[in-house]
């Protein structure tokens, strides 16, 4: 069938299957219908719930402003789908165009969208991870359990890892006067995502709000009581913290195991795809019928030296899903690239933190507005003489301006005058990111693959 006719047929009576019924899956389904797809749509999700929103789980929910089981995503339109919820996809037959399900069923497709996201990395010592009172926070079920325990008034909460999730949890605890200890391997919170200069400000936030912050330490073990409840955490500096509730915030693992052996370019770092969200097979050849979106995807971005980016960003999941959906049912000349400038927000200790671009690529940082000591500022990150990212603390209104600077490759150090520019903001300083070859948790942006500008190829094996 000629391409044009094929796409007409696809739109009219094709079969589209979406694996992963969460933010990216839902927004893709809505886009498909909005763009006139009239064929059959099947939504496969291993969680038993309709798509719900995750960011409130570590914010509004823990602050008591929202019920954990009531964060369902609003619908932009009717998607008229067949829902297979509570059923995991267990395999993919690329040649036969079929998805295998845990219940033994097989679902054929003409186009497949994979949006299986990531899951929380558990505490690595299995027996200790099983202790009563040890939690992770990724799903609605996690949030329901954690919320219940927090309401019961724990004596002390112990958070492992001071990335965004860990910091937000600590903040919510302090808001309710619950004593909390945070242990972080790096020298400050948020270092993996924003670097040491901004991390130092985050550390002050913790201290000012009465968080017992322990940095530069590793948690060596969790101790249980005879009845199997957690009662203490042991640290590498020899100290012991008594606690009855531990939240493990060690970042996430991509949900790609179900694709093992499928021939798709999928691994621990995600599923590689082109800028149009078309998945690569393991040989690096683009597929025609398999698309990827959201946290599980890694795709090259021209603004960032064609590095493959894996983003754990809400906005990325939405934007990428819309691009993937459009491209799935369009002829190649009508396809559009996913050129979203990464953007992320967090809210902790009453401070609105936002970033655009890829801070972790930055070599240097300049404070172009406000000041670090006031905790109200914009920091701009530079990479090889141009602006690559910006972060704001309680200064969100300016971020759009910096987004344009990133898009246009504005020169760094920043010379232009800005509102509220202070003398100390005139010089660039090292952004102070940890050695990228060392794993950090919760960076939310991961650079993987190499930059063609570097003309080198280094294989860095990575574990789950």
């Amino acid at each position: 069938m000629p391409a044009e006719q094929f796409h007409e047929w696809l739109r009219r009576e094709g079969r589209i299957v979406v694996v992963g019924a969460s933010l990216a899956g839902l927004r893709a389904a809505e886009t498909l219908r909005a763009e006139g797809f009239r064929g059959s749509l099947t939504m496969i999700g291993d969680e038993p719930y309709q798509p719900y929103d995750r960011p409130p789980l570590s914010k509004a929910v823990l602050l008591g402003k929202a019920a954990p089981d009531r964060t369902d995503l609003p619908r932009r339109r009717d998607i008229d789908a067949v829902w297979r919820l509570g059923t995991a996809a267990t395999g993919l037959d690329l040649a036969a165009q079929r998805v295998r399900l845990a219940d033994g069923d097989e679902v054929p497709y003409d186009r497949l969208l994979i949006a299986t996201g990531v899951r929380a990395r558990p505490w690595p010592k299995e027996e200790e991870a099983q202790l009563d009172g040890v939690f992770v926070l990724r799903t609605r079920d996690d949030a329901v359990r954690l919320h219940r325990r927090l309401k019961a008034g724990p004596r002390r909460v112990f958070v492992i890892g001071a990335g965004f999730t860990g910091s937000e949890i600590a903040s919510a605890c302090r808001d309710q006067d619950i004593p909390v200890t945070v242990a972080e391997r790096a020298d400050a919170p948020l270092v993996g995502a924003l670097g040491g200069v901004v991390g130092a400000v985050a550390a002050e936030l913790h201290h000012d709000h009465g968080v017992d912050l322990r940095t530069g330490v590793m948690v060596t073990g969790l101790e249980g009581s005879p009845v199997g409840r957690v009662r203490a955490a042991h640290l590498s500096d020899g100290s012991v913290v008594e606690t009855d509730l531990v939240v493990v915030c060690l970042g996430a693992t991509r949900n790609t195991e179900w694709l093992t052996g499928s021939g798709l370019g999928a691994g621990p770092r995600g599923i590689a795809c082109d800028a149009g969200c078309r998945a690569f097979d393991f040989r690096g050849i683009v597929t025609d019928d398999v698309y990827v979106a959201g946290d599980v995807a890694r795709s090259p971005h021209p603004l960032f030296s064609y590095q493959f980016l894996s983003l754990e960003h809400w906005g990325n999941a939405v934007a990428q899903a819309e691009v993937a959906a459009h491209n799935m049912i369009s002829a190649s000349s009508d396809r559009i690239p996913h050129m979203w400038v990464p953007a992320f927000w967090s809210s902790q200790f009453g401070v609105n933190i936002k970033s655009v671009g890829v801070p972790s690529m930055g070599e240097q940082i300049m404070i172009t507005q406000g000041s670090l000591t006031e905790r109200r500022f914009v920091g701009v990150y530079g990479y090889q003489g141009r602006v690559i990212a910006a972060v704001s603390f309680d200064n969100t209104r300016w971020l759009e301006f910096y987004e344009r600077q990133i898009e246009t490759g504005a020169p760094f150090p920043v010379e232009y005058p800005t509102m509220d520019r202070r003398p100390e903001g005139r010089k660039a300083m090292p952004a102070d990111f940890p050695d990228p070859s060392l794993p950090t948790h919760g960076p939310t942006v991961t650079l993987s693959g190499y930059s063609p500008a570097d003309r080198r190829l280094v294989f860095t094996p990575s574990r789950h």
Partner: protein, 81 residues
């Protein structure tokens, strides 16, 4: 009524918190905290907040009538699970 705020877009203008204070509140200077679920009595206020947000960051369904999501009216049987 389900709702979500695109906090990448939200500029913390607090219009919504002014119009529907039971659903939207400010936490600190700029951070918006909202309840992703609002009761039917809040419908009118939420609708006003959605309309007033200067950057159109709020998406809500079920704004037009009780129960049925507006955008998803006529939802077919498969959707009902």
């Amino acid at each position: 009524m389900r709702l979500v705020v695109d906090l990448n877009r939200c500029q913390g203008y607090a219009q919504c918190a002014f119009l529907a204070p039971d659903v939207f509140t400010m936490h600190g200077e700029e951070s918006l905290v909202y309840s992703p679920w609002a009761d039917d009595e809040q419908r009118e206020k939420v609708a006003r907040a959605v309309a007033a947000c200067p950057v159109q960051a709020i998406t809500a369904d079920g704004l037009d009538g009780p129960g049925e999501p507006a955008a998803a009216a006529g939802q077919g049987a498969p959707d009902a699970r």
